[in-house]
């Protein structure tokens, strides 16, 4: 398995270089960060603009810039940002921390809901419960994230008004200043987490519950489950120990593979709820034509996705003994 993992990681190297080069090229060609100075009245003096040009390496040929950037990575240097005071490396990692906090909680919630809904749907196939859950699943699948998030905010404000208390918050991950002790701080953070987590979770839940339902149905129809029942095992025991466990395998893989897209999907949630995470970092970088910041985001994201794909492949083998890697 170690050899397999290494081989997989080695294959990633040329993919990484090719993809970073293409994105670097596109980012460099898409705009000039110095142009922001042009439409200001009065414009900054020419020496200011020239100094900025040199600081951002805009005086170097593009291949040289790419090479310097690539070799800089190994020294932990992500390059200069258009915001001279910004250390891109520290910033992108902090921002990823914010995003991952949001994403992991949302995934956890989505998984629990998806498993429950999928199992209930499968066990009670074609019942009223199944139809309702199916309908709800497709409803969330079809719902645009930003719109759903805005609805949630409205619901949150109505709830606050109804209980006459500031319970739920719509902006950020916590209040700037919380009066009271540790317990109040916990409540404050929880009050900030609920809406964005739910907003992000329900969208993954929709897809995953369908996976879980299909997997469960397949297992329930299989011979070994029927055999277990025939041998006189109780229904609950068969469901838990034999059926559910097997039916979790596909969901595990899907979840690991989905993480990348959830992180990128979190851009909208971050923006609406003003969590300053990796998604808003990328949006800001693009709007500033901040090439090195865009590249830093890409490097971290690519690494996360490459590693997660590997983990998914390995997990698949671990969970399903029939599949082994030579």
């Amino acid at each position: 398995m170690l050899a397999y993992s290494l081989r997989r990681l080695l294959i990633s190297v040329p993919i990484f270089i090719a993809s970073t080069f293409v994105v670097f090229l596109m980012a460099v060609l898409s705009g000039n960060p110095l142009n922001k100075f042009l439409a200001i009245s009065p414009p900054p003096p020419p020496q200011t603009i020239e100094a900025e040009r040199i600081r951002l390496h805009l005086d170097q040929p593009i291949f040289e810039r790419y090479w310097n950037w690539l070799t800089g990575l190994f020294r932990g240097d992500f390059g200069p940002s258009t915001e001279s005071t910004l250390d891109i490396g520290t910033e992108v990692i902090n921002r990823y921390g914010v995003t991952l906090r949001l994403v992991f909680l949302a995934m956890l919630l989505a998984l629990i809901l998806a498993i429950v809904a999928g199992v209930v749907s499968a066990v009670k196939q074609y019942s009223g419960v199944d139809y309702t859950l199916t309908f709800v699943g497709f409803l969330f699948l079809a719902m645009p994230t930003f719109w759903f998030a805005i609805l949630l905010k409205e619901a949150g404000i109505n709830f606050n008004n109804a209980v006459g208390e500031q319970v739920l918050y719509t902006i950020g991950d916590s209040s700037v200043y919380v009066a009271g002790g540790a317990w109040d701080k916990v409540l404050d953070i929880a009050g900030h987490m609920i809406l964005p987590t739910v907003s992000l979770a329900l969208l993954s839940f929709a897809a995953w519950s369908r996976f879980q339902r299909a997997a469960m149905l397949e297992v329930l129809g299989s011979d070994y489950v029927r055999l277990a029942r025939a041998k006189g095992l109780r229904r609950g025991q068969v469901m838990r120990k034999h059926a559910l466990r097997t039916a979790l395998i596909p969901l595990t893989t899907v979840t690991a593979l989905d993480l990348g897209s959830i992180i990128s999907g979190a851009v909208v949630t971050e923006k609406v709820f003003q969590w300053q995470g990796a998604g808003t970092f990328l949006l800001d970088a693009i709007s500033r034509d901040d090439v090195y910041a865009i590249m830093a985001w890409l490097v971290i994201s690519a690494t996360v996705i490459i590693v997660l794909n590997l983990v998914a492949d390995l997990l698949y083998g671990v969970l399903d003994p029939r599949i082994r890697y030579a």
Binding site: G31, N32, N35, K36, F37, L38, A39, I40, S41, P42, P43, P44, P45, Q47, T48, A51, E52, E83, S84, T85, L86, E91, I150, L151, L152, K153, E154, A155, G156, I157, N158, F159, N160, N161, A162, V163, G164, E165, Q166, V167, L168, Y169, T170, I171, G172, V176, Y177, A179, D184, L187, G191, I194, L195, V198, K271, V272, F273, Q274, Q276, T280
Partner: protein
């Protein structure tokens, strides 16, 4: 407003809240029972912009906290640097850094009476200005605010003592010969090489004063390298110093800036115990944050939906103001066809500015009117209507056609033919991607031009500066900010070969008048010359001013002394006076 209960009750409510949200069951109450008159604190602001919503200090609570939305993170703390010269950063530091002049809600500037006893022009040849700093004015560590601070800023900004300092502008500072201190540094005498009409602009609130004694700790202020090192240090580090009513308690990047009263402040003590700037980078999220009382003051760019949403929030007042930013169509005179004045005049004449306003910003306010000057807003000293007499911007199709036929043009088969018999080629009008109001305005321009047989294509640009610089446009819709200090700007924007004269307009009379106006010691003479130049420009039909862009402020009704200020100082211009009404 929401009150705080016990922890257990809140925990229970949290769980219930989660359950409610999960079941996507939104109670349709909407809040607000409509009892009592709310939303009226800005009612006086049209008549009395500088004093509306005021409350004497004894009617305010001692203490309280106000959170205001700030639309950008603060990336650079040196407002005098090209990178730190950002409106939002300026707002955040308004209560911290001292300055000589302030811009008031009525769009006029006044001397900062907290810092200065007086500021006077004592001689016109050479132009000499004497500032007298208040004796009690000190930085928060006790060091007096003095001529040293003025000298430090001047040296970094004049382009000579520190050529490497990445300053936002050298305008004015580069014409100063000497800055000298006397009377223990409390008198500052500034002597100019060449008169600078806008002398009030130096050290004003957009280019505030930084402490020289702290600069000294980070570089030798007698060398270019030392000055640069101090200048950069101010950019990279959160100010621990203050010479304003507030000082910075805490800054969390991308999240918030917290201000608390500066105990060394010599003026009236601020009432609030804490002012928080919460960074909300998406204006569309501000109304819900306001409704949920997470912020109490917002100052976003107005859009129809946003304004309507805010107007429905109970206990919140809002106000549309008219600012210094003005929208305009510019021609690119490098285009051969547009070199002909008659065509330019006709195209500007056929644009109906009133219809354009009604179809865009007029949807949420009836205050906006066609703007008739390239240099002044109607509220400013010196405003004169120079556009109406030209007939431009009226949408008068017949008048526009007459200009063209008089000049030898013909319209055949809905196509405009020039005097040499050549059809006028298609042109493009460009605007900033994602700006709906500009897109609508550009489309109205294209429709108007169609009536003269000119095809104008509407196309967006995501790089306004780059497009202007490269000249890849025939007509551009964008905005300038009319400074309260207009003279240097006018030279930059309209005279031959200057950096901001993107469409390459050139008229020797305009060049002469504007250059003279910028180097006057008599402001009234200077204003007259700018208007004379503006009349020539209007006749030349290079720029068509459209309207003053509206600004928008909303705040909870219990806040006193918060009011609109559409200048670059923003509503925080009097942040030291803000307070919560008692009772």
């Amino acid at each position: 407003m929401l009150r705080s209960k016990s922890g257990a009750a809140r925990a229970a409510a949290l769980v219930a809240g989660a359950a409610l949200v999960l079941s996507a069951c939104s109670g349709g109450d909407g809040g607000g029972d409509g009892s009592g008159q709310t939303g009226q604190i800005f009612a006086e602001c049209d008549a009395n912009p500088n004093e509306c919503n005021s409350s004497p200090a004894d009617q305010l609570q001692d203490g309280g906290q106000v959170t205001m939305a700030l639309e950008k993170d603060i990336a650079n703390w040196n407002l005098n640097s090209s990178e730190g010269n950002v409106f939002e950063s300026g707002m955040a530091l308004k209560g911290v850094l001292p300055s000589t002049y302030l811009s008031n809600p009525d769009l006029k500037f006044t001397m900062n009476e907290d810092l200065l006893e007086s500021a006077e022009q004592t001689n016109t040849d050479p132009q000499t200005i004497v500032y007298k700093i208040k004796q009690e004015a000190v930085w928060s560590d006790g060091t007096p605010v003095s001529a040293e601070d003025f000298i430090y800023v001047w040296k970094t900004q004049n382009g000579k003592d520190c050529p490497e300092c990445a300053v936002a502008t050298t305008a004015g500072y580069d014409q100063v010969r000497t800055v000298e201190g006397s009377d223990n540094g409390k008198t500052v005498t500034v002597t100019y090489d060449k008169p600078f009409t806008d002398w009030q602009q130096l050290w004003e609130s957009g280019q505030p004063i930084y402490p020289a004694h702290i600069a000294k700790e980070h570089g030798d202020l007698n060398t270019p390298e030392g000055l640069k090192s101090a200048f950069d240090w101010f950019g990279a580090n959160v100010p621990t110093y203050s010479a304003g009513p507030y000082k910075i308690e805490n800054f969390e990047k991308n999240r918030s800036l917290t201000l608390v009263p500066n105990e060394r402040w010599w003026g009236d003590k601020p009432k609030l115990e804490r002012v928080i700037f919460r960074i909300i980078t998406d204006a569309a999220q501000e109304p819900t944050a306001l409704q949920n009382n997470e912020v109490q003051v917002i100052y976003p760019q107005p859009q129809v939906d946003l304004v309507n949403q805010v107007r429905n929030i109970p206990n919140v007042s809002s106000y549309v103001g008219l600012g210094l930013t003005w929208e305009h169509f510019d021609f690119n005179l490098d285009n051969e066809v547009l070199k002909d004045k008659a065509l330019r005049q006709a195209l500007f004449t056929v644009v109906d500015r009133q219809a354009l306003i009604d179809g865009t910003v007029g949807q949420f306010t009836d205050k906006v009117e066609p703007l008739n000057s390239n240099n002044f807003m109607p509220q400013q000293e010196g405003y004169e209507d120079v556009i109406s007499e030209t007939g431009q911007g009226t949408g008068d199709v017949e008048a526009a056609k007459k200009i063209l036929t008089d000049a030898g043009y013909k319209i055949e088969n809905n196509r405009l033919i020039d005097p040499d018999g050549q059809p006028i080629p298609e042109m493009s009008v460009r605007y900033t991607t994602g700006n709906q109001i500009r897109q609508d305005s550009s489309e109205l321009f294209a429709q108007a031009a169609k009536q003269l047989g000119v095809t104008v294509n509407v196309s967006p640009t995501d790089d306004l500066g780059g497009t202007l610089e490269s000249g890849e446009y025939d007509i551009m819709l964008f905005a300038w900010v009319a400074s309260p200090y207009p003279f240097a700007n006018a030279v930059q924007n309209w005279t031959t070969g200057q950096g901001n004269n993107f469409g390459n307009y050139s008229n020797p009379d305009v060049d002469r008048l504007l250059n003279e106006a910028a180097a006057e010691t008599d402001r009234q003479d200077a204003l007259g010359k700018v208007n004379e130049a503006n009349r020539i420009m209007a006749e030349d039909a290079y720029v068509l001013p459209l309207y003053q862009k509206p600004t928008f402020i909303a705040a909870y009704d219990n806040l006193a002394n918060v009011r609109n200020n559409s200048t670059l100082d923003g509503p925080v211009y009097n942040i030291g006076e803000w307070g919560v009404r008692a009772g």
